[in-house]
Every structure is written in C-alpha cells, then in structure tokens.
C-alpha cells in the first residue's frame, strides 16, 4: 500500500479542520460569543486539537477510500472481463455486487464465473453466436441476485470457526450495546425530594420567630439594593486609603444609610438567623441562597467602613461597637448546619471584623479600661462558639445533585443522566457567576481546585453528550450514595475535628481514605469541597480570634505593668487571659517574643513551619496574613 496516498489527504484534512475551526473561533471571538479569556485559558486549544484530529481522521478515511477504490478497479480489470460479451460482463458484475461480501472473495468468484463463460464461448466463431450462447448460459445460471445470495451463503460457510465466532460475538455485543444505549438515553431523573425544604428543616430553630434576625437583615439589604456605584466600589477599600472626595462620599453614605446600619445592629442583638428558603423549582438549592449572601457581604463591608471612619473621628467605642456587630453578623450567617458557602461567607465576615480591630489597636492608643471591656465583650461573644465547619447541609446538597443526575431504579439503582451531569459541570465551575465576583472566587476556592478535575469539568461541559456513554460505565446511584454517605460521615465525625497541623501530618492516610471512599467516582470528586482548604479557613479564624484576644491582654498588661510579659504563661498566671492561645497550624502555643520595646505574636501559617516571624507575602510581594509562605504575623500590625 502506498502510504503517501493516505498521508497527504490526512494532512490536507487536518489543515482543513484547523482552518475551519480557526475561522469559527475568529468569527465567534469578533462577535463576542466567546471571550479572549476563554481562548487563553485553553478552550481554543482543546477545540483546535479536537478539530485537527477530526480533520486528520476524516482525511485519512477519504484517502483510504480513494486508494481502496483504485485498487479494486485495477483488480477487476485484471479479470479480463472485457473479452466477454457485454451481457456476460454485466451479469458477472451483478453477481459480484449482489454477493455483498469481502472484495477478495467476490473477485475469486467473479474470476471463476468469467472462466466458465470463457470456456463456453471459446468455440464460437461470430459475435452473434457468442452473444446468443452467453445469453443462454446466463439463463442457465439464473437470476444474478439469487446466485449472488447463494454464493455468499456458501462462501460464508467456508469461514474458519474463530472468525464466525468473532463475527457472532461482535453482532451480539452490538445488539446489547444498542439496547443499552437506548435504555441509557431514555432514562430520566425522578425528583421526589425538595432539598431546599430539607435544608430549611435542618436549620429551623425551635425558638420564637420574633427572635430571628433575618427580617432585619433583609430589610437592611433592601435599602442597599440601590447603592450608588461609587460607594459600592469603595466598600472593599480601607477608609484611610481613599482620597478626600471619596471620604466625603463615604461620610454622606454613612449618614444616608444610617437606617440600614441600625437594622443590622438590631439584628445582631437577636439570638439567631434563619432564612426560610423558597425555591421556584427543585433545582434551585444553591442558586436561591446566593443573592442574599452577596447583599450581606456588602453590609459587613459597610460596617467595617463605618468602624474605620468612627475610629478616625476618635469615637473608638462606637468603632468597637461596629466591629462587634460585624463579628456577630458573621457568626449569625455561619452558625448552624448551613451550606459551606454560607459558612465561608460568615467566617470571612468574622475575620474581617477581627482584622479591623487589630488594625485599630495597632494605630491608636487605647486606655486599659476600654481594652478590658473590649476583651470581655469579645470573650462573651465567642463563648460557646464552635469554629468547626459542618458538612451536614453540604451532604444534602450532594443528595440533591444525585437526585438530579441519576435516573431512578434499574441496575445500580439508576445510571447517570447526561444533562444533569452537564449541569453539575456548569454549577461546579461558575455556579455564582451571575452574582458577586467574590463568591465566584470563594466557590472556586472550595470546589474543583484540583487542576485535573477542573479539566474534567471543562470536558464534561463541552462534550456532555459524548461522555454519556462513559458515564454509563461509571458507578450507579446506589454506589454514589454510599460513597457520599461514607465521605461525609468521615468529614463530619473525624476530619472536621482535626486541626490543619493534624491534617498535614496525617495527609497521606486522609488522602488514601478519601480516595477509597470516592474511588474513581468523578461526579463526587468534582462536587466535593476542597475540605483541606475549608478546614484551614475555619482554623485561621479561630487562631485570629485567639491572637486578637491575646493582643488585647498584652496591651493591657503593658499599660498596667509598664512592660510586656516575658512569656505568655505570665499573662495566664496574672489572669489577663484564661487559656494560652494555641496555633492550629502547629498545635503549639502561638509564637510570642518580647522585643526591645514591643513584642511579636504570630502563627507559623500555611507552610506549617516557623519562619522566625517573617511576614507572609503573596507572589506579588504584598503582605497577606495567610499567604502560602511566611508566618501569619498578628503583631506588629502589618500596614
């Protein structure tokens, strides 16, 4: 076989495929259907590769078909059928065609028939006689179609047994495959449980509804719905960092929205926050939660801004009130068996509160009595607070997806439903895209952080239907439910109780256990939160809160005794703190050292090693308390 006869069409096909998709990308890019970001992020590379491979395959097939056709023509011409009368030629060709069998076999049969005609006609002297004799012989042979069928059957019997078995096996498998595909594609999920309602039940308090903070927060959030853009942009900034014009705008905003602030503060005095989630349809589980979180986040940033403003106006007690309100607000959002995203938003707001407090402590001279009161208030606020993350609601969230992504009944309790899986892929990637960019980041932080799984998500999204068959081979509904139950039982009862330091030292065993529980079930793996990161986030808050309380105690100690203690034990011994603060990232006390006229207090941070108090910085060199490298230095407060 002359290989170049196939290679050239293949290369040509590949180039055609590339040109075609290049043109499509250019047009869609120019018309705004896809973005440059999508292309840069590898979307175009996947599509280009796909089309070039498709082009290569199509080109190869075209080349092979053309080459095969030329070979067949040459083989038929070798039979010398041209020497026979036209009727005989047509008859033999028809028989060959009706045989519908392998070309080589047909060629042999046609050769044999041609020989028969040749022998019969060899004694004919004239063309007319040849034609008459050929016609007679054709009549003796009978109908070309019938002969072709009889010859094919006879030749098929000549096949070796292994070949017959192979063909029969292939046929049986094909039939089963078709039946399977029909069964697979005809299945639909059955929605029987409203998991939004289940979430409501999970967190529904037994206390009086009048003690619920939600109506007050919602009313405040409603007032925020018409927040001017310039103010919305200032919310993420620190008061001292903005120019005078913006400071004036902030002052006006704080006055104009006083009612909203009052509502939030009043809400924080209530004992609990419970929202009765109402879904428009059962697929709303997580979507319905997002808008309110976005508004709540803005409320928290506003409180921080007011605290900074009040501190700058030297109204420190008012500033501390706002900080405490902010902390309570975060705790309200987080507490209970809420969804992870709610817990994380709550944690972020609580962390925002203590960070603001540390900054004020670092900038202003505050007398001991105020510090004492502040420490007392904070200790009361965190009394009984459970910093561990709950995975109970998250488990319901997983149940909901299983309900939507699997059919019900049949082998394995149901098989994956392609459209549901596509939805998962979209949801796990940009579930919050229509809402606040902050949530997008947060969701990305807790889901699908693994690059390999991210790529799998892309694949699912781009070719959900194509993957359907593969998913048919993936674990069924029962096994997936079993995996989810096993995984979340482990997360809730064992993992959530571990500190990041413990997780770090037991990482191999934990990874093994999770792998054993989830197996190769990608549906779970793309939905399961990055629990290590979630664990770190919750313990970061605990460490920050304890560090802040210790700072308050140290500042008080200095004012009372005109010097800092040599070691933290002195603080405890003298009653300034109840317990020595423990660093969750080392399982040892926070690192404290007295310096010439000051002190340093830090956690070993995310790299789990003591860098001697070197401030953690991100890859751009900016101070970031919880960057991957360096220590989380709480004091001196980093500017």
């Amino acid at each position: 076989m002359k290989i170049q006869k196939i290679v050239w069409p293949a290369i040509l096909g590949c180039l055609c495929g590339l040109c075609a998709i290049g043109a499509i990308i250019a047009v869609t890019l120019l018309s705004g259907i896809i973005t440059v970001e999508f292309c840069v992020n590898g979307g175009s590379i996947i599509i280009l590769s796909f089309f070039s491979v498709m082009g290569l395959v199509i080109g190869s097939v075209v080349g092979f078909v053309r080459y095969n056709k030329s070979i067949r023509s040459a083989s038929i011409s070798e039979l010398k059928l041209d020497s026979l009368p036209q009727e005989a030629y047509d008859y033999i060709m028809s028989v060959g065609r009706y045989m519908s069998y392998k070309f080589k076999v047909r060629l042999e049969v046609m050769d044999e028939l041609a020989g028969h005609f040749d022998n019969e006609l060899k004694d004919c002297s004239t063309d007319e006689e040849r034609q008459q004799k050929a016609q007679k012989l054709i009549e003796q042979f009978g109908d070309a179609k019938l002969l072709g069928i009889l010859l094919r059957r006879a030749k098929k019997r000549c096949r070796p047994l292994w070949r017959t078995l192979l063909v029969r096996t292939f046929q049986v498998v094909s039939v089963f495959l078709i039946i399977y595909l029909v069964w697979f594609s005809s299945g639909r999920p059955v929605i029987t449980i409203d998991y939004v309602e289940e979430l409501n039940k999970l967190n529904r308090p037994s206390a009086d509804e009048s003690l619920n903070a939600a109506p007050l927060y919602d009313k405040a959030a409603e007032k925020y719905s018409k927040l001017p853009d310039n103010i919305a942009n200032l919310l993420g900034k620190k008061y001292d960092d903005v120019n005078d014009t913006d400071k004036q705008a902030i002052e006006k905003f704080l006055n104009d929205y006083k009612d909203a602030f009052d509502l939030v503060v009043a809400g924080t005095k209530k004992p609990y926050l419970w929202r009765n989630l109402k879904s428009t349809c059962v697929s709303d589980t997580i979507e319905v939660l997002m808008p309110y979180l976005s508004e709540y986040r803005r409320l928290a940033y506003s409180l921080r801004l007011r605290a900074q403003f009040r501190a700058r106006q030297n109204h420190l007690e008012d500033a501390f009130d706002d900080i405490k309100s902010c902390y309570c607000f975060g705790r309200h959002i987080r507490e209970g068996d809420k969804l992870l995203i709610e817990q994380l938003v709550g944690i972020a707001i609580e962390a925002l509160s203590v960070q603001t407090l540390r900054r004020i402590l670092g900038e202003y001279q505050i007398d001991s009595s105020k510090l004492t009161q502040l420490q007392k208030d904070f200790e009361q606020m965190i009394a009984g607070e459970n910093f561990d993350v709950s995975f109970k609601a998250e488990k319901l969230f997983q149940y909901d997806w299983i309900q939507k992504c699997f059919t019900e009944g049949g082998p394995g309790g149901g098989h994956p439903y392609p459209q549901g899986v596509r939805k998962i892929a979209q949801a796990s990637r940009d579930v919050n895209a229509p809402y606040h960019p902050g949530f997008q980041k947060m969701t990305q932080a807790v889901r699908s952080v693994n690059k390999k799984e991210s790529r799998f998500v892309d694949y699912l999204e781009n070719s959900g239907t194509a993957i359907a068959f593969l998913l048919g081979l993936s674990p069924g509904r029962d096994e997936t439910l079993k995996s989810v139950n096993g995984l979340y039982d482990f997360l809730d009862s064992e993992f959530a109780l571990k500190t990041p330091a413990q997780v770090q030292t037991q990482k191999t065993e934990i990874d093994k256990k999770v792998k054993r529980l989830t197996g190769r079930n990608y549906l779970i793996r793309i939905l399961v939160p990055s629990f290590e990161r979630v664990n770190q986030i919750s313990h970061r808050l605990k460490t920050e809160v304890e560090a802040t309380l210790t700072m308050l105690a140290l500042l008080r100690y200095k004012q009372d005794k005109d010097q800092y203690p040599q070691i933290l034990d002195e603080l405890k011994a003298t009653g300034y703190i109840k317990e020595i603060p423990i660093d969750a990232f080392s399982d040892k006390p926070l690192v404290y050292r007295k310096t010439d006229s000051d002190f340093i207090l830090y956690s070993v941070g995310l790299n789990f090693k003591d860098d001697g108090g070197q401030t953690a910085r991100d890859y751009k060199g900016r101070v970031n308390l919880w960057a991957e490298e360096g220590d989380a230095v709480f004091w001196p407060v980093q500017k």
């Binding site: 041609a114 028969h116 003796q140 006879a154 000549c158």
Partner: protein, 115 residues
C-alpha cells in the same frame, strides 16, 4: 431425460464427489462431465453448481486451488479430500441400498411386482 430439481438436489453432492474422485476438475469441466457421464440424464443447473462446490469445500469434502493458465486466466481446480472419499463411500452404500429397495418396491429387474 431430465430429473426434477428436488430429486437431483439430494444426490447432486454425491454425483460431484464421485466425478471428482476420478480426478481434479474445474467448474466448467465438471458441469460438462456430469452431463456427459450421465448421458445427459443428470443436468446440474449452472446456478447450483458453484454454490454446491463452495458448500462441499466448506465441509472440507473437496478442496480447490488456483492454477495459472497459459492464456493468462486462472482456473480453480477442485479435488476430493480423504474426508470426501469416506463420505462418498458411505453415500454410495446408502444409494445402493436405496436402489435395491426401490427395485423391490417398483419391481425393477425382478423381485416383487407392485400391486
């Protein structure tokens, strides 16, 4: 005299095997031989001959091999295999018994006369 095709169908394989037992032949030659040796009594339809040959080949009773002719055309010669010979011997015995039986029934060459 030509036989009914159904009657011939049963004995056609035996006839082909018998002729091939005397030497290898190609398709055309075989069809001629059947007609000549049976005195034109047995005429195997041309459309039946080749499927029959391939069936016998599938049963490994005969085997075919291609030979190049001086004219440039190829010919497929068929010859009987040892399995074919054994099969032929058994079939011949049965045919003899059948002929004897038919002779008795129809009174060919003596024996009982039909009622």
């Amino acid at each position: 005299m030509k036989f009914e095709s159904q009657l011939l169908k049963g004995i056609a394989p035996v006839v082909v095997l018998e002729i091939l037992s005397r030497g290898q032949m190609y398709g055309y030659e075989l069809s001629q031989a059947i007609e000549q040796r049976s005195g034109d009594i047995l005429t195997l339809g041309k459309g039946t001959l080749y499927p029959l040959l391939y069936n016998l080949e599938a049963q490994k009773l005969i085997k075919g091999k291609w030979e190049q002719m001086p004219s440039g055309r190829k010919r497929r010669y068929y010859s009987i295999t040892s399995k074919g010979k054994e099969h032929l011997a058994r079939q011949k015995e049965q045919l003899q018994e059948l002929t004897a039986g038919l002779g008795v029934v129809f009174g060919f060459g003596g024996g009982l006369q039909p009622a």
